[in-house]
Amino acid sequence: MTEAFTIRKYLRDLTLPFCAGCGCVTVMNCFLRAVHELGHNDLRKFVFCSGIGCSAWIPSPYFEADSIHTTHGRSIPVALGVKLMRPDLNVVVFGGDGDLAGIGLSHLVHAARRNLDIMVVMVNNMIYGMTGGQVAPTTPLGVKTTTTPYGSFDPPLDTVRLVATAGASYAARWTTMHFGQLKEAMKVAVTTSGFSFIEAVSPCPTAFGKRIGLKDAAETLRWFKENSLPLRQAGKKKKKELTDKIVIGEFARRERPTFGEHLHQTLTEAEKTAEKN
């Protein structure tokens, strides 16, 4: 059905900007392999939106596709505008934890509440990497960053749980260590109708790893592996035992009417009213 996988067929002929060991490349790889396995030989049926931060550069302008690289935190509203006017296109958002769980959090929650038919990939590196390592809403407690020199006193947000609770059709968290699961999750997310969200916990050796004493990406990945806990097992643990654990798995997978379906119904109603008048 499909040609052999080569990542090049989806990319423009440009040099990628990512640091050595950056998880963005793994996320890019997972997504494009998922797209390939779903039978797309190009990205013609996709539109990509992103905000500000390293992971916003995954699609823009490297994907040979339409991409809208917006301002900080505003990728989801722009994606909404695209999706409502072109429901036939797959609209995919890439963003970081600062972009989507910090400055743009409100848009993320509302998109999940609406069950807007788009896919959002949040690359969570637990830090503001591009600006040089400031504390993020996802940074674990106690971590020394450039803006928390005595250690973070700010408890982190469990973003995937929040999105699942808000009403997303699909919500999952994996780390870039879990390449196979992450890729499979991407396939589910692309094909799910309604809002689908993937949190990809990802190494940032440059601005985060070194702060917690992990000298390179390999060490960070080992740390991910040792500290990851499947959702089912996490349910049996006490809250205290889950501190510093990365709970992985599917947090939501449900059938729920999508925003597009509700909207279509409303528009049909309006047309009928207009005809009567």
Binding site: L14, R44, V47, C49, S60, P61, E64, A65, D66, S67, I68, H69, T70, T71, G73, R74, I76, P77, V78, A79, L80, G81, V82, K83, L84, M85, R86, D88, L89, S106, H107, H110, L263, T266, L267, A270, E271, T273, A274, N277
Partner: protein, 381 residues
């Protein structure tokens, strides 16, 4: 009933704005409730679905303009409407729309600020924000309606300019013009000009920052367009450090508006070439000017005025030429002095420039107050 039929209506200004948008071809509206602009969102929510369009209330003003920008990149004409506090929040994405050359219309129904101010009362304090609210170098197109008729007409004009120059256009209304009702006429469709954006042919690759307005592809058409608010070349590729690319892009974006100033500028003028006293006015304040001029003429004073329908770009040549005959130029505004400084700059000392300011409670400058200023300035000169 889809588009409004030609005829006479008794509409509210905000309603006329929404109907004008529908006539202009607007098919996407996103907004957030705010006094005194909410009626535009409400009316669009009712009317757009009857015209194969979508209107949606978003979670905040950034989301509203963000959604409008997304819709515009699918090829749809799109609009949002707000007032001062929301207009402040939109500046970020207004700058993005300018930088990415995304046509869209932003209505700012001005109220008394700063901050929450007097939310239900009229003000004209956003004149400079509409010009300079975006950070970084830019040029702005800002229109100022002074009647319900113009809420309709200038909304259409705002879309035409946005599509022609591929840039965001601000309709700078005010609470009085937006909330009053008066008789107005919808002309037949043949009598109205509706502009459409220039589309690329299938082989074109340059979509940004050209000297002439660049053609605009839509997403989903196979152009693989890369849109970014970072400095970019003609193909949309980022150049975050190259001085020449930045100079070329931003220079061309500013110049495409500056060099077309005379085509964009629109105003109403009265006896500007034969007056002792000149007035520069805009928006609701200009309605008192008509009556004040009559009262002054009864007293034998020759008064001319220039009523700005385009505030930005500023018609400085026309203001300057009025100042060649007038001894005094009065600038009435419902703020503490904004367009005044632009008038002063344009007059270049050819006449004395006198402010007439009033704020608070939404109280307009009255014809009598203007007359007193006119009479006083004649005596002084």
């Amino acid at each position: 009933m889809a588009k409004p039929q030609a005829g006479t209506y008794f509409w509210q200004g905000n309603e006329a704005c929404a109907e004008g948008a529908i006539v202009a071809g607007c098919r996407f509206f996103a907004g957030y409730p705010i006094t005194p602009a909410s009626e535009i969102l409400e009316h669009m929510a009712l009317r757009l679905p009857q015209n194969s369009g979508i209107a949606i209330q978003m979670e905040d003003e950034m989301a509203a303009l963000g959604a409008v920008i997304g819709a515009s990149w699918t090829g749809a004409k799109a609009m949002t409407a707000t007032s001062g506090p929301g207009f402040s929040l939109m500046q970020e994405l207004l700058g993005y729309a300018f930088m990415t050359e995304t046509p869209c219309v932003v209505v700012d129904v001005q109220r008394a600020g700063p901050s929450t101010g007097q939310a239900t009362k009229c003000g004209q304090g956003d004149v400079m924000q509409a010009r300079w609210g975006i950070h970084g170098d830019h040029a702005s197109i800002v229109l100022s309606p002074n009647s319900v008729q113009e809420m309709f007409e200038l909304t259409i004009q705002a879309f035409n300019l946005a599509e022609t120059y591929r840039t965001p256009v601000v309709l700078l209304a005010d609470e009085i013009v937006a909330h009053m009702r008066e008789r107005m006429t919808v002309p037949s469709l043949e009598q109205m000009t509706i502009a459409e954006r220039k589309k690329p042919n299938s082989t074109e690759k340059q979509f940004f920052g050209l000297k002439e307005v660049a053609p605009m592809p839509s997403v989903g058409e196979g152009f693989n367009v890369a849109v970014t608010g970072s400095t970019h070349d003609e193909q949309g590729y980022r150049f975050t450090a190259d001085p020449l690319v930045h100079r070329r892009l931003v220079g061309n974006l500013v110049e495409k508006i500056r060099s077309n100033t005379e085509k964009i500028v629109d105003f109403e003028s009265y006896k500007t070439d034969d007056c002792d006293v000149g007035i520069v006015c805009f928006g609701c304040t200009s309605r008192a000017v008509y009556e004040a001029v009559e009262l002054a003429e009864e007293k034998g004073i020759k008064v001319g005025f220039l009523r700005l329908k385009t505030i930005w770009p500023f018609p400085e040549k026309n203001v300057n030429s009025m100042a060649q005959t007038a001894h005094v130029v009065i600038v009435p505004e419902m703020n503490l002095g904004e367009i005044l400084y632009e008038v002063d700059r344009a007059v270049q000392g050819a006449a004395k420039v006198v402010p007439l300011n009033k704020i608070g409670g939404g109280e307009m400058i009255t014809p009598e107050e203007l007359l007193a200023e006119i009479v006083g300035s004649v005596k002084a000169s």
